[in-house]
């Protein structure tokens, strides 16, 4: 596994970047919306489908073990309006991604909704965010 996969979790507390009103269809109660972490890893898949686009990222944890992170984005229609396409991410891409992590410690996160889209930097280039 690439060395780039190393580590990387920094916390930005107090950020409420995703509105609870018009975000994911299932709400945000499973995620810590006051915390944003940054993942540094490699894309393994990008599923451009309803109800939410899903990104799988291989990320090394603090022990050096590779974990599969599942990052949730908005529905394809809404992601398109944010300037993303089904080809915005590809397996093998290096990515730095911000996400609101799951409250239960699972390697899942929420990064995109209708009102906010956290930062994704792919192979050194930033994708649209707001």
């Amino acid at each position: 596994m690439k060395s780039k996969l190393s580590i990387a979790i920094c916390v930005a507390a107090g950020l409420l970047l995703v509105s609870a009103s018009t975000s994911a269809h299932h709400g945000t109660s499973g995620y810590d919306m006051e915390k944003v972490i940054t993942l540094n890893g490699t894309i393994t898949s990008f599923n451009w489908s309803n109800p939410h686009c899903l990104v799988h990222i291989d990320v090394k944890d603090s022990k050096g073990d590779v974990k599969d992170w599942i990052i949730e984005l908005a529905a394809p229609t809404l992601m398109s309006r944010n300037g993303w396409t089904k080809d915005s991410l590809k397996p093998g891409d290096d990515v730095i991604a911000e996400t609101h992590p799951a409250k239960n410690g699972a390697t899942t996160g929420l990064s995109g909704a209708s009102t906010a889209l956290l930062k994704f930097v792919v192979n050194g280039h930033a994708l649209p965010s707001h």
Partner: protein, 265 residues
């Protein structure tokens, strides 16, 4: 009165004819001068859109739009029982576990008033006898009849029976015949098949639409109440977002269940 098949054919034709004009308006919003011209020509306000919600709010309670105190609406005992059983995605009772939101669990139609809370757009096609409301979410649509009254004993349906009229710059929509299977909002407030809705659509300015909705449901609420939403004209063309049970199930298995297991030690 045209039969059902004829009516469907007419509707499809109307949608086809007007979709080109609708798209043109999305890419080139009318100037104020044009808007004035439209008004003076037919005295019918232009609501075409598409419209996208501003901010949104999960509850229709006018004093609690975030749903922080969802039990403060004046619910009847019948409605309180329904509300207690609800496990909604938003508001004070928001949960990821054992969700019984009929949209999330079954891909049921969300109902007229809940559609206004969604981030997906809607648009109107106005003809002399009927106004069509088109919703991106699952491609739902509904006719607003301008040339007739409600049937004396309407069927109970997901979208109800809607009639409308223009009062100056306001389109007033009166709806009955709703089946009571939907929630009125994202926080799980119920309604019955006695729900009577009055929607009032008004253009605040060229690019802003205000929708107020009055809920009158004596079986579920001891008093009628009115909430408002604001929408902005969108430059994005109308699309369709499908609700697929197989996709929902796949998402639940992959994400929801993973995110609701007991916290890791």
């Amino acid at each position: 009165m045209p039969n059902c098949k004829t009516r469907q054919t007419i509707i499809l034709l109307v949608i086809s004819v007007f979709s080109t004009a609708l798209h043109a308006q999305t890419t080139a919003p009318k100037s104020s001068a044009n808007m004035q011209e439209t008004r003076s020509a037919g005295h019918v306000p232009d609501f075409s859109g598409p419209w996208a919600v501003v901010g949104g709010a999960p509850s229709w309670d006018p004093s609690d739009p975030r749903g922080a105190k969802p039990d403060q609406l004046p619910m009847t005992p019948w409605a309180i029982e329904k509300f207690k059983a609800a496990r909604p995605p938003f508001g004070a009772k928001a949960t990821f576990e054992a969700v019984n939101d009929p949209v999330q669990k079954y891909c049921d139609p969300p109902g007229i008033t809940r559609l206004y809370a969604y981030p997906w757009q809607f648009a109107l096609i106005q003809t002399p006898g009927v106004v069509y409301l088109l919703y991106e979410f699952t491609g739902l649509w509904r006719p607003i009849w301008l040339d007739r009254e409600h049937p004396k004993n309407p069927d109970s349906t997901w979208m109800g029976d809607s009639i409308g009229k223009y009062e100056g710059d306001v389109l007033v929509i009166d709806t009955v015949g709703l089946n009571g299977k939907t929630w009125i909002d994202q926080v799980g407030h119920p309604h019955s098949d006695a729900l009577h809705l009055i929607e009032r659509l008004r253009r605040v300015d060229q690019d802003t639409l205000e929708v107020s909705v009055t809920f009158d449901d004596p079986k579920a609420y001891t008093n009628a109440f009115t909430g408002k939403r604001t929408f902005k004209r969108s430059s994005s063309p109308m699309e369709v977002t499908v609700c697929s049970l197989t996709e929902m199930q796949s998402f639940d298995d992959e994400v929801m269940k993973t995110t609701t297991v007991s916290p890791k030690k």
